[in-house]
Amino acid sequence: MISLFLRLYYEFFKVGLFAIGGGMATVPFLQEMGKSTGWFSPGELADMIAVSESTPGPIGINMATYVGYVSGVRHGGAIEGILGSVIATVAIVTAPIIIILIIAKFLEKFRENIYVNAALYGLRTASVALIAAAGISIVLFSIFQVENVYDIGKAVIDYRCFILAAAILVVTRWVPKVKEWHPIIFIAISAAIGIIFHMSV
């Protein structure tokens, strides 16, 4: 049990240290974590993202709490789950808090440093590329029901998913006013459509 908690702390410490640019930036790291530890499946990760988006609180923190809880429960019971959620949450904020406390001392110098700016130039790109890759993996799993790019030949073609995906994309990107709506509304509508069209079958 102790070894699980130590591992949980270590894994989430890493996510906190390397995920740059907000909530979705944690997704690629969590995906990797799911693969290497077996704590949760790609499908569970997609559900966690949905729950984290539609509950109060920063997405990154919600994800850490959720994963910590699920991993704890898998290795014990509810108490282990709660301990796991606390440990994962504390772990994901450890590195950022230390870094910010240091930066706060040299605020101006930090913003103007050439090398900091140059590193950020690379880091922003890495962050968006990693999120894009995670997004594609989740599409492969959730919509085409294959494990990775190499299995694309075995893809399950479910036209309901395509229509729903296309509709959400159009509405969230190009319909004025509606695209400003909070994501939780689109999640709720998608849930309703899922129920109406029995999308899990």
């Binding site: 907000g22 559900d47 509810a78 808090i97 790109t125 969230t172 899922g194």
Partner: protein, 220 residues
């Protein structure tokens, strides 16, 4: 007049208790749905307008730095604000405040969802939601794209990292470290050369960086 105002804010700062700090940030945590940008207006209202703990410009600075340093933006901004008001302990307390509501709410949901997961309607709903989540992730990518992929070097980096992650299962940590090094080699050396060989002083180069990022916007 100005001195008086400063004195006032000084007094208010002394009135801030650690518990008050915790409560204020817990409130921000509860009121934020979705995190990131959704949180900025709420922080502005709670910290700048209502309590006068920080100035608007300070908050924007904290937010901007919070975005480009590791970790959750909300927590980073909380650490900054808490430290300014109450030192290192304040930074810790403010961060704990922001994450506290998530801990409670998510633990409850995670505990309950297992009891419902086997119901047909819940599975159907989750199937629909997963499709929505895919699109939400790509919307985040589109939003970040403008500030991240700014020239052909970053475009090539984007494509390489995408391929490495999708086809070769590359570790995201390795990708992040390599990208930072690549950024320093490509851009840092350029800018450092300007200082060494150009007639520019250091300040001018810094201005330069700001100008190039502005002109990019104009080109688009």
């Amino acid at each position: 007049m100005k001195e008086k105002q400063e004195k006032n804010s000084q007094l208010e700062k002394e009135d801030v208790t650690l518990f008050g700090l915790f409560l204020a940030f817990a409130k921000v945590g509860v009121m934020t749905f979705g995190g990131g940008y959704a949180m900025l207006p709420i922080m502005q209202r709670e910290l700048v307008d209502k309590r006068g703990w920080v100035k608007d410009a300070e908050l924007m600075d904290y937010f901007a730095i919070g975005q480009c340093t590791p970790g959750v933006i909300a927590v980073n901004t909380a650490t900054f604000t808490g430290r300014k008001l109450k030192g290192v302990i304040g930074g810790l307390v403010a961060s704990m405040g922001v994450v506290f509501p998530s801990l409670i709410i998510i633990s409850i949901i995670a505990a309950l969802i297992k009891n419902f997961a086997h119901i047909q309607a819940v599975q159907d709903a989750l199937a629909g939601i997963r499709v929505c989540v895919c699109i939400l992730i790509f919307n985040a990518v589109f939003k970040m794209w403008k500030n991240a992929v700014v020239d052909w070097i970053t475009l090539i980096m984007f494509i390489l990292i995408l391929i490495a992650s999708l086809f070769f299962d590359a570790s995201p940590i390795l990708m992040v470290v390599l990208a930072a090094i690549a950024g320093i080699i490509v851009k840092g050396r350029n800018d450092a050369d300007k200082i060494k060989y150009g007639s520019d002083t250091k300040e001018q180069v810094v201005d330069d960086i700001a100008v190039t990022s502005d002109s990019r916007e104009v080109k688009k």
